[in-house]
Subunit: 279 residues, 2 copies
């Protein structure tokens, strides 16, 4: 029984190619290594209707978690909470829990003499204006709190887009939720690197190994460093083996068996294998 | 009238956090600078049903272009053409056009003595097995051709996942299609960097500038370099101004007017602005 996760990233900057989506990469890695299964990443604009639609579509697929990033800040273009409210058909209201967290941040800034007085302006109250029946998640490094809403079998979690804030809330509040659901499930992976065989010649060998090792997922990656790598005798190919399993020994044994079989097949076909990247 | 584009990235490696999705970033940047409007990026697994579903959903939103990346290679895990065929409800067949392109690649390798003979194995024919009524796009640097299918008002374009191959096919075949549709439309952007004002204090100023400059989209980014940046007097914030317009002079004038107004408002509120990043 796997723990399905979807990620929704919100931000025009991702869709105009201004910002590389490192948040999706970081979240996918962390969620996978917690034993969860990331099924889809969706990137939409800072637009209430786009956010609401993407959220409703994701809810229809019934993942255990939907994690959004971006759009929780104080400015006009931060529309995630409004989008989620519309998607869930819930009204927005000031969350006393979130407001307390926001106020505490400004109290700290006041003590540190970084500001002269605390004004809970509309922009600051906005960061605590949540869809009804939701909870706030403490932000250890920034101002905007995260949010969590339980919707039938799905927990919808909203995190900021600023990477250190997103990561800190994830590690403090979200990772324990994922771990609790995933239990003993864990992700195992390893690679071997192949030389002297073309990817198209490897294809039937990969098919055989996948067929013989149903617990293991095997994927080939043509290995390009700085320059284009036309398929040919000198291609380097990475074969990536992975499995999600609750039993460490079974997982390790399955991975090792598949890797040994693959190495043997490659060598029989005149290729070389190594467990470290070579140039 | 904007030219809507959706991107669908296919690959387990993106969803387990093994690979950073630089393809989506590159495509978003190129498509935007061609005057097109990227509305959504979706990332799904190497799974025929997931690919077919994502494609159908995207077609329902009626973009002018859907560009997929990944899954065109010779191995079992390359499932994009099968997924597209299912999504479009079309049968797969060997495309003589694509097969010719694949064969020519192996002929070149034979001439370069990188291979000893040409065998059109099932894995190699697979790269030329396209959904019916589609065309092949020449791959200048790799083996697997791209694919284009016209589906009502939408062109569905499949590109490989290996970045240099994806980029080469895009530049040679896809960019001209986008440019033709976008006509004179072009994307203009510029940033100013703000110091000494908190993002939450900037919020009402941003609202005012956006209201007064309806052609310009303005977004604030809290500026983190290597360390977390707690909101405070020393925060650095980037304000990014952008517009898509067919008239260069109008676009430039709109951007400049919005930037000048914003700088003035920031200075009135005790902040500093510059047009270059400062540390």
């Amino acid at each position: 029984m796997n723990v399905k996760v979807e990620v929704i990233c919100i931000g025009n900057e991702l869709l105009i190619g201004k910002t590389l989506n490192t948040n999706a990469h970081w979240l996918a890695k962390r969620a996978t290594s917690s034993g969860a299964d990331v099924n889809r990443v969706t990137v939409v604009k800072d637009d209430i209707s786009e956010i609401a639609t993407a959220l409703r579509e994701a809810l229809c697929r019934r993942p255990r978690f939907i994690i959004t990033t971006g759009g929780l800040g104080p400015t006009f273009d931060d529309k995630t909470l409004e989008g989620i409210a519309r998607g869930l058909n819930r009204k927005l209201e000031v969350s006393s829990e979130a407001l307390k967290m926001v106020r505490e941040k400004y109290e700290t800034l006041l003590k540190q003499k970084k500001i002269d007085k605390i004004e809970m302006t509309p922009s600051r109250v906005k960061m605590a204006t949540f869809p009804r029946r939701t909870h706030a998640l403490h932000n250890p490094v920034g101002t905007a709190p995260g949010m969590v809403a339980d919707v039938k079998q799905t927990s919808v979690i909203a995190l900021p887009g600023v990477p250190p804030e997103m990561e800190a809330i994830f590690d403090e509040s979200v990772a324990p939720m994922l771990k609790k659901e995933a239990g003993e499930l864990a992700f195992f992976e390893a690679s071997i690197y192949v030389g002297g065989v073309m990817e198209s010649s490897l294809a039937p060998l990969i098919d055989k190994v996948m067929h013989d090792n149903p617990l293991v997922y095997l994927k080939s990656h043509v290995y390009t460093k700085s320059r284009p790598q036309v398929e040919g005798k000198k291609s380097h190919i990475e074969l990536h083996f992975s499995t999600t399993n609750e039993d460490f020994l079974t997982a390790k044994k399955s991975l090792n068996k598949a890797m040994a079989q693959m190495s043997e097949l490659v060598q029989e076909n005149g290729g070389t294998t190594s467990t470290a990247e070579t140039s």
